[in-house]
Point group: none
Chain length 216, copies 4
DNA sequence: GATGAATGAGCATTCATTCAT
DNA sequence: AATGAATGAATGCTCATTCAT
């Protein structure tokens, strides 16, 4: 019988319980100010138990990042399988991205900030997770490249740029938007969007349109 | 006589000494790992003296941010005074930005990250600095808007977008590029730039060209 | 049938497996730094199982000591049965001792240090083991005394001292040598031995010769 | 004026206060079981203050060892300056040693045990102290060697052994006796001394007499 | 008998901040 | 203005031990 299997599933469930506790706490108090003690408390585990599932605080936080990247990766893959013009594929991917931000800021925050601050601040703890994240990030970028190539081929995208460079530009735009979202402080930006009665997805759409319809 | 004046100047000089010490240390060890003790040591002050000039650690770090913003603001103002087409003004501003990153990553890091992570993590310590920063950020954005308006008017910029929205997009792109720079990990992105024999300023130029030459 | 017997033997074998794991680990990492977890792992038992065989960590460590003492006791007994002059008996006993150090430092370390540091540090856990050790230590001393008495009687030992006092002195010397061995730091001592081209057994022999040939 | 001087003296006094607190606590509870918290409490300092004077727990403990060695070194030097036959010099040194044990067991314990257990258990923390201790230990040994040489020359010591080797043997005996003292458990040994109405200094005297009067 | 998940008290260490001088 | 000794709350992490299965 699948005894080991069940065990493994149980373990996964507990790891998730901890992850969720961590995410919600980070959402409330910020990264550095969230303590292992509190995470344990919210996950209804004892402090020591946390260390049964994650080597240390750093690993726990990186696991959040990995989860976010994995989620996005899955979504991107599903989008790619749809029978849509390339331009639309890219557009859907970006919307998915922006949705994620709205639904779960911490998730996105983790994906963006943690392990990105400065290499000195993130000591390698669990090399595997670190590697996995880099791998996922690369694949995410490549999925956008693929969609762009499809778009160029099916004529839905009209650009003078190389798909890879365009993907990079789209990635930067995405990143900038995320930063914007994670930062409440940029009042002026919000005000501009308000004035024009637009939201971020609208702006993203406009951005893509500009990029995808370059005069020859 | 300018006794008070001289005093004030002296004070400013000492504040700067502290700021520089902090910046160089952060560059070496990262934000959170830089201690007041070390900053004091490098600034050749005693720990207690730091508190004579900055209310607390948070204020000190925000002051770094403010300084970066101020520097940029000054640069942008000077650029705006040049007798150049609007498109070129924007371009120069962006190059100035990218230069700053290369010259002083911490500076940029401070500007981007600190006080942006999550509002919970930045307790209001020195309201004034906080306000100043927001003000500067807004003005920075508006200086880009102005340049865009000039460009539209002088015909160097051809866009269907509202200048304010375009400024926002340019800002996002800028932000994304900074993130990219501050993050060593994005190997794929670097690889793409390498392949095409391009660097970030090149990509920025391409980006602006696309934005500024939209077919009617 | 010897069902209980077999069970008992099995139990003994498992206790030994644990003991050996503990000894090898202590050898590698030192006393305090060896954890029950690691011992269990190396013994290929689960952590909980250890407690089926030893009441607690302290008991486990004392068991190591006891085993060392028992080994020596057995050796001493065998030596005593040999048809040799008393002086030679003592000499062989000491050599056996020094050999043990070289062959298994942890063993000796356990015998010397553990449970000897300070009485506060060894809470009575398993009174029996504690008692057994004291008993064995006493018997060890008495076996030396017996050998000395034999030596005095057969003329191989010429001393003005009471055999018991002499045994005590020999014991002290032994102890001192063990300390010396367990301590890598005493560079000067090693250097002296080197200079004279001697090793510890040589020095012990010299020591015994001096003790055993006192002018009337 | 000696402002710096006074400061330094004050600092020394505070370091001593901490050391004394540590010694008395170790005496009561044993090495490993004494916590920094308790030491701070007894020294009437806050926990953090301890770290202003000693880098870490290990350093603090090694400082105890160093103090003991220094004390002995001073005593040995004074003895050496006395106008006495060499045999008497050695004898006085040993008595000084034994006295130290009786007066301050922890002191001696520190000197003997700490940093001697096993090299794995004592990570180098404050290299200086470590070095100082080794240096002192060597000098201690050499002072005995000098006394022996004097004794051989003035005829108070009659031995076939090389002074250095003899010093080593005396050192081992000393060590053995210390072990014996630090270990309450060796009941048999105590019983023997009792029977003969002797104490450790008596036995040491006897030991030295045997060593110093070897028939040619 | 064996397991291993869970515990939670315990510990060393850090560091921003204060304040008497 | 400057100091730097002192603080003490806070935190990440360890590990012997227990107990339900």
């Amino acid at each position: 019988m699948g005894k080991t299997e069940r065990k493994e599933r149980e373990r996964k469930r507990r790891k998730d319980r901890i992850l969720n506790a961590a995410i919600s706490l980070i959402e409330e108090k910020g990264f550095e100010k969230t303590t292992m003690e509190e995470i344990a408390e919210r996950a209804e585990f004892s402090k020591g138990t946390l260390y049964l599932y994650y080597n240390d605080k750093s690993s726990l936080f990186q696991a959040i990042k990995k989860r976010a990247l994995k989620y996005l990766h899955d979504q991107f893959l599903q989008i790619l399988q749809k029978d849509l013009p390339g331009a639309k594929l890219v557009h859907e991917m970006m919307i998915t991205f922006l949705d994620l931000i709205h639904e779960n800021a911490t998730f996105t925050k983790a994906m963006m900030l943690y392990g990105k601050k400065s290499e000195q601040e993130v000591e390698a703890t669990d090399g595997t997770i670190q590697e996995d994240c880099i791998q996922l990030e690369n694949e995410l970028l490549m999925l956008i490249v693929r969609s762009l190539q499809i778009g160029v081929q099916d004529g839905s995208i009209n650009t003078k740029l190389d798909p890879k460079l365009l993907a990079l530009q789209i990635g930067f735009q995405m990143n900038g938007m995320i930063q914007f979202c994670l930062t409440g402080s940029n009042k002026k930006g919000l005000q501009i969007l308000d004035e024009k009665n637009m939201d971020l997805p609208d702006l993203m759409e406009q951005f893509l349109q500009t990029q995808f319809s370059q005069a020859g």
